[in-house]
Chain length 142, copies 2
DNA sequence: CCCTTTCGTTTACATCTGTAGTCTATATTC
DNA sequence: GAATATAGACTACAGATGTAAACGAAAGGG
């Protein structure tokens, strides 16, 4: 899903399904996109099976085929999969410090962290280079 | 930076600069890319000013113009900027539970969280729809 | 000093993405 | 029923990306 498509999905997720008309008017409050553009994006999302349609007369009612949470977890995990292992901790630190969370979410994070602490290693190794059997380097870079 | 380019950068970051030869051989241990492909990617990274070159004779020694940590923080923050506010907490929960962190990182997260807890709100509102003044909906979806 | 290897540059091309105009068939209105 | 408004489909096109071959100039070998 491309960034523009993601914007469209957010509307449909939040409204739990919508007609193209609705998506168009909501989207146009936010972005200067033409009707056409939004229709194209809706069409592509259907092709990609991110949306399914229910025909009502000649119009479509668009519904997501995946929940917003699942989609968010997916993109975020995929991004993290390609980042240096050793530095993921500090990246999350950075995120934590720049965002605002509800007390409930913080509590959950805290208990998860105490749990993780019990089995946490002293350090994490970098996985940026392909692993080589006869590696002459040590520590971080192998 | 595209995903393929990111792969190249990881190598150069980790080795703190390299010749194209080195990038090519390391990369080929991991991906089935032709020499040409890797050269193209290096060229594009230079165009995009992600890499700078030092000429040594007629070859180049490629060096990053941004640190890996800075780049990671940037992409991750940009991704989060376009995700539903209300659900960022659970996304991070999901990340925390699927990754392994060093005890040191966990400690830092814990102290950051206790600090944040003091001013944390009871709930976070969704920002998926453009904000409308005369909003007839309430709670999560407005 | 020629030959070959090597490295960077140029060119190539399909697919995806952002952006949008046009067309067609169907609804809706008078 | 004819005129008009619509919704979705089709077409378009430039720029980014993945992928790679071909080319040219310089370096190293003999």
């Amino acid at each position: 899903m491309s960034p523009a498509e993601w914007e469209i999905m957010r509307i449909i997720w939040t409204k739990k399904g919508s007609s193209s008309k609705e998506v168009i008017s909501l989207m146009q409050l936010k972005r200067n996109w033409s009707e056409s553009t939004i229709k194209t994006l809706l069409g592509r999302l259907v092709e990609k099976k991110m949306l399914q349609t229910n025909k009502e007369g000649r119009r479509f009612f668009y519904q997501p085929t995946i929940t917003e949470s699942d989609a968010m977890n997916k993109v975020v995990s995929e991004l993290f999969d390609h980042l240096c292992n050793m530095k993921k901790g500090s990246v999350i630190l950075n995120l934590l410090s720049s965002l605002t969370f509800s007390r409930e979410d913080i509590k959950k994070m805290q208990s998860l962290l105490s749990e993780k602490m019990e089995t946490a290693p002293a350090s994490i190794t970098c996985d940026c280079l392909p692993h080589m059997e006869n590696c002459s380097m040590h520590e971080k870079n192998c």
